[in-house]
Symmetry: C2
Subunit: 187 residues, 2 copies
């Protein structure tokens, strides 16, 4: 990475959500990509403490520390947001009303919001999918269409400030698109 590349997101502050059952690589890779590009990345969950992430949905992966409870943060402090997948993790995130409001505020404010795999369930819950084009893990496509979204099967889809991908294999493209969107937003 060139010097200029590593400093593109200097001064940017990005939120990443995590919960019990978040898919490990869908958390760590976007977090690392954003930090490597110079952003400050805050790990946000329902409450502070440690949560268990997973690999392939059901195998235990590393424990992650939630640095900021959702009660203590405000969407307008951030220049971007990442919503990882994990079937259980995404289902857990959508079940927290404050997390959902935080996501709605991000999307409505126009800051970049990336969601991957089962993460777009949180976008459905946040009621921000209507008339937008997005992708997700394919098992969510009916939920996304029923919420008024147009679901497409692509590695990464950018529709205004919504960036979505299907699965861990798409992470390189997803991370690049999220970093690019935050860079454009803070430029």
């Amino acid at each position: 990475m060139s010097e200029s590349e590593s400093q593109r997101l200097d001064g940017a502050r990005v939120a990443i959500l995590v919960a019990e059952g978040t898919e490990s690589v869908e958390f760590t890779e976007p977090k690392t990509a954003l930090a490597d590009a110079g952003a400050d990345v805050d790990v946000i969950g329902s409450e502070t403490g440690n949560v268990q992430t997973v690999e392939n949905d059901l195998q235990e992966a590393e424990t992650v520390e939630v640095e900021q409870a959702i009660d203590d943060v405000s969407a307008d402090e951030y220049d971007g947001l990442v919503v990882p997948g994990g079937t259980v993790g995404a289902d857990t995130l959508r079940f927290d009303d404050e997390i959902v409001s935080f996501v709605t505020e991000h999307v409505e404010s126009g800051t970049p919001v990336g969601a991957i795999c089962h993460g777009p369930w949180v976008l459905v819950e946040a009621d921000v999918v209507d008339s937008r084009t997005l992708t997700s893990y394919p098992s969510l496509q009916t939920d996304i269409r029923n919420a008024g979204g147009e679901w497409v099967d692509e590695e990464v889809v950018t529709d205004e400030n919504l960036i979505t991908s299907r699965k861990p294999d798409d992470l390189d493209a997803f991370c690049e698109a999220v970093v690019e969107a935050v860079a454009e937003d803070v430029a």
Copy 2:
């Protein structure tokens, strides 16, 4: 259980679905309740072999043998169907088109279909929720409403042949309602 009680479902044949990540008690308790009432219960999955069930979504529970692959069964052979939850299990079931068609055929034929916790996602995928009243694990309520269903927060909801419950704590009421519905159907 009285002699007459134990024989109410004699001659009835009921299907129960299972997948990797099915919530163990939501599989074993309805299966036991139906068998105790005299029904033959077939364990059906995407393919034969063993699948790992879970407890509280992420802890390993017992391995279950899939007795019949979905390819080898037809909805009209059965007098009832049970769809257990488990976040990953239900998400996995809805991802199999043949499982989904099997569920649609059951619901449309009028035979009793019970779904608990995250199991109603499979009903959403089967496109049988529109204009029906049902419950589920509360995180699914938006998906159910977006699919045209009326979501209510009750221990067990019976709407014609659809029987739904919210969570493992509701299992006693769920099992009783499913057994009763199958008994009425085969009477």
